[in-house]
């Protein structure tokens, strides 16, 4: 479908829309039109924007804007929808939770950082910061004086009521009413899973309402490892921002950094050499294998199979050794740079990869013998935590978890980057949608990654491994979004630049945030053990959620 026709349809649907840019197609819509337009964008046959990829709040100075990046899973086209309010005292925008479920946590994040209240959002609590935090950090006039927000000496009180702002429209008169939604009643048996808990794989806190062994409701509390990376990037030069991406999802370090580098390179119009593309693709796939091996280990451990943990780590170690040899780091590699990579790969790498590609398949067979085939393991996985296709798309659950629900969402196939368009591999898709499906997708993806490595390793072209860049990198004015297929889903970088050497706004679309938003629907009605299995199968990484 041509971009032009999208423009025509959108303008037909919404005459008040103001086209800001053609590439990518961007429209600005006044906020009060959003509740009407959003469902139409999703339901229109020709548009079918059913996937809210990324939702970013931006302080434009005059106005507080929200940027929705929409994509159609059916047609594959994208558009950007912008809206904003000039009221900086009481900014209010309509919520799109009803249309795209992934907006739930994203709008809470925008509220947290920009103070925009979303009308008709059922749960307007802060997502990352403490409830008593003063100010909204991503506003440009935010007062970062430590005296305003001193280091708290007392624990945060848990608030069990969530504010909600409901709009009542009577003619031209809009009346905003503040309501309170009860998260957990006083009589409920609420157990904290986390923030310090072996099964949350980091400092994430689930508040779980239990009825005996049965989970009735899960409330996700994030922010325990929030470092304000998006805020920090606003005062760092572009090369400096690179170091922070490795620390988001530390198991997708190469891929995250790849996304940011690609985004900056695209904005600069910088072309990297084929050698760099090959190296980056190889590193991405090694990272994916390492991450999936770690998934297997920790997931088995969550289900009580303790021996499996060591098997997975034993094999992951071999990949970390390769990283160490080429990049110098084992977990946080800091390898990709704008225009290339830090240093050339080790001459030993190709040999090591070839050995590894031969070594791993028999090991995978052993994994399947030890764990996958076990009757207890199967009963723990099959039919548990079923995520259907529509819920996966609406919640934006990408990556292996989305593909287990039958959603073909592999960025490597949809928007090839690196050298993924030159290699043969299958996008692993299953239709079970349960824990078993998510598990098997990851196990099969390891084989596909090995296939990619096998094709690439002998064909790395000669060339320079670092393109020449200016000493001070300034991006032209504009906004860019680039995404890669990280180990646990689509990792995207949205940069808004005003032509300076610092980004005006840099937003990371983390694959982890949508993953935890589906924990509640998946775990409800199951047992405590199922909650652990669901959490393990989603394979979230907490620093990626909190950023």
């Amino acid at each position: 479908m041509e971009k032009k026709s999208i423009k025509e349809i959108v303008l037909e649907l919404e005459p008040e829309a103001e086209v800001r840019s053609e590439q990518p197609f961007t429209v600005w819509v006044p906020p009060y039109r959003i509740p009407l337009l959003a469902p139409r964008l999703r339901d229109d046959e020709a548009l079918a924007f059913d996937f809210l990829v990324c939702m970013t709040g931006v302080d434009e100075g005059e106005t507080l804007d929200v940027v929705y990046l929409l994509r159609s899973t059916r047609h594959g086209h994208e558009m950007v929808l912008r809206t904003g309010t000039s009221d900086r005292e009481n900014p209010e925008l309509p919520s799109v939770v009803e249309v795209w479920a992934t907006a739930n946590l994203n709008e809470r994040e925008v509220y947290d950082f920009l103070g925009i209240r979303f009308i008709n959002h059922p749960d307007m609590r802060r997502l990352f910061l403490r409830n008593d935090w003063v100010g909204y950090p991503l506003r440009k006039d935010y007062n970062a004086d430590p005296a305003v927000n001193p280091v708290p000496l007392e624990s945060e009180e848990t608030v069990d009521v969530a504010p909600m702002y409901e709009a009542h429209v009577e003619g031209d008169n809009v009346d905003i009413e503040e309501k309170e939604n009860v998260v957990f009643g006083d009589e409920e048996y609420v157990v904290n899973i986390g923030p310090q808990h072996p099964a949350t794989h980091g400092v994430l806190r689930f508040r779980v309402q239990l009825d005996g062994e049965i989970v009735r409701k899960v409330d996700v509390n994030c922010g325990y490892i929030h470092r304000g990376i998006e805020k920090m990037t606003e005062s760092l030069t572009y090369p400096q921002t690179l170091a922070l991406t490795d620390r988001l999802d530390y198991l997708s370090a190469h891929q995250n950094r790849h996304a940011l580098c690609m985004c900056i390179e695209e904005a600069l119009g910088l072309e990297v050499s084929d050698r760099v593309k090959y190296i980056r693709t190889i590193m991405d796939e090694l990272t994916r294998i390492a991450s999936h091996l770690l998934f297997w280990s920790t997931f088995c451990m969550d289900l009580g199979a303790l021996t499996a943990f060591f098997y997975g780590f034993r094999d992951r170690e071999k990949i970390l050794d390769m990283f160490e040899e080429s990049c110098g780091g084992r977990l946080i590699m800091n390898y990709n740079t704008i225009g290339g990579v830090m240093q050339d790969i080790s001459p030993n790498l190709a040999h090591r990869i070839k050995t590894f590609v031969k070594y791993l398949p028999p090991m995978l067979k052993e994994y399947h013998d030890v764990f996958t085939g076990n009757i207890i393991a199967r009963q723990r996985m099959q039919g548990i935590g079923v995520l259907d296709y529509d819920a996966a798309v609406s919640n934006g659950v990408t990556g292996p978890s989305g593909r287990a629900s039958g959603w073909s969402c592999d960025v490597r196939k949809k928007h090839p980057y690196g050298v993924y368009d030159r290699v043969e591999f299958d996008e692993v898709i299953r239709h079970d949608g349960d824990v078993w499906g998510r598990y098997m997708v990851r196990m099969d993806e390891i084989l596909q990654s090995l296939r990619i490595l096998e094709q690439l390793v002998d064909n790395i072209p000669q060339g320079e491994w670092q393109a020449k860049t200016k000493p001070v990198i300034k991006l032209p004015e504009g906004s860019w979004y680039r995404s890669v297929e990280a180990s646990r889903g689509e990792f995207g970088v949205y940069i808004e630049s005003r032509g300076e050497k610092y980004p005006y706004r840099m937003k990371f679309r983390s694959p982890g945030l949508p993953l935890i938003s589906v924990v509640d629907p998946l775990a409800r009605g199951g047992k405590i053990a199922d909650l652990i299995a669901v959490g393990g199968s989603l394979d979230y990484v907490v620093p990626d959620i909190d950023r």
Binding site: E213, T307, K527
Partner: protein, 358 residues
Amino acid sequence: MFDFSVVTEWVDEGLRSWLPEGWVLPVEFFLIGLCLLVAYAIIALVLILYERKVCAAFQCRLGPNRVGPWGVTQSVADMLKMLTKELIKINHVDRFLFNLAPFIVIISSVLAFGCIPFAKGLEIIDFNVGVFFLLAVSSIGIVGVLLAGWSSNNKYSLIGAMRSGAQMISYELSIGLTILTMVVFSGSMQLSTIVESQAEGWFIFRAHVPAVIAFVIYLIAGTAETNRGPFDLPEADSELTAGYHTEYSGMHFGFFYLAEYLNMFVVASVAATLFLGGWMPLHIPGWDAFNAAMDWIPSIFWFIGKVAVLIFVIMWFKWTFPRLRIDQLLRLEWKYLLPINLLNLLLMVVVVVFGLHF
């Protein structure tokens, strides 16, 4: 074969000649209690090391190998550490029950430990309803677990204790029924008699099919009874952190830890006694030379060997299988093990009545 009653009678006579009449029994009680506790502690330490080594072997590791040759004194060092650790006082717990719980657990396990016939003439508690007594005292432990979970004032502990209650009461049935099956076969509830009557062949061979079924069920139920993987739901570390003993520290935690290992030992010993002849060497009727050769190996080694093999099997379960979910656990017991067990008991009665055994 060496008979340990020679030693015990020698000590008894010696004491009687040295001490006044009224003192002999109390001193003997004291000595026996002391020996029992020392054996208890030593066996627990050995088991902990054994488990760590077995687990390491399964996980492609070496296990403890720094403290002493092959790490043999590692668990001694661990015990000293545990003994010197502080018992942390926790607010809002029911202090009396909280402190009582580990003692109930350990007392139950020591009492059960005392019933075991270790070797020829080395039985401490041995009377005509020995099996019944063993079952009764080993079930007291669950009271301690429930109390620990309840008094800790911790939600994880409570869930762990509830799971433990459901699990142990359920699997107690299977244990009881398998033991009953073997009691039907042996015709006695006295442990020493049961062992003696296996001189012509271990029960698992003589009572063939029903005994093998009972043995397998006993091993499953016994693993569940000791809260070990894959039935370690009460302390499922990835779900409930540590279950019912989350809040315990120092030696109170140590008691739970010791009791867990000793319960495993007790379960393996009972299995060895009922099915594999206890300390009785392997005898095949008619092969007199072979039997004499077997008799040459001291009975205590037979017993320890059998128990070690069984414990290895139980550890094998733990380090291989993933954990069950609570409903699967209860379904396994009530829908599969219990009916099979009842039918098996019937089968055993038929076998005994019609004399279909060897």
